[in-house]
Symmetry: C2
Subunit: 97 residues, 2 copies
């Protein structure tokens, strides 16, 4: 989880402005052929937004949506109970064509 490689090819979506994540993702894509945009719970819609902005704006330059995975994670809520939270992972990759 803390290896340098994994930290670099994964962008976690939180509460920053949308375009901050778009920029971060594009910077990583300058060095890597594919990156993963991850989010959970309320941020899932924003992860889709980030991926869509990138694929729309770079239509010709060539980044495309790759594999999309959804899953659940167990998190402890404030009252100490375990709750399931949905997660998403969207691959964005350089077009090979």
């Amino acid at each position: 989880m803390t290896t340098e490689t994994q930290a670099r090819d994964t962008i976690f979506i939180g509460k920053k402005p949308l375009m901050a994540y778009v920029t971060t993702t594009l910077i990583q894509l300058a060095n890597l052929s594919s990156v993963y945009i991850k989010a959970r719970g309320m941020s899932i819609g924003r992860a889709v937004d980030v991926a869509q902005i990138i694929s729309r704006k770079t239509e010709n330059a060539g980044f495309a949506i790759g594999t999309i995975k959804i899953d659940s994670e167990q998190l402890e809520s404030k009252d100490g109970k375990l709750r399931n939270v949905s997660t998403i992972e969207i691959e964005v990759k350089r077009n090979t064509a």
Copy 2:
């Protein structure tokens, strides 16, 4: 868009309680081998929740997440401008195994 077949195999996620969509999806899956859960904008996270609840609760009975697609749609906002809204489509299908 309005053919009877398509209306039946697609569940659009809106503002009803989450379990209402889980029930609707399970009813459709009793007749069909795969259905599509669709949502846009703010409802995208809820679509992932619905799909996850179904795959988690029916682990043995056997429904699984299939192909996931994300896209954008242009919608006219209240001020008359066109805005891009992200969409998601999650396939839920009967396990053939």
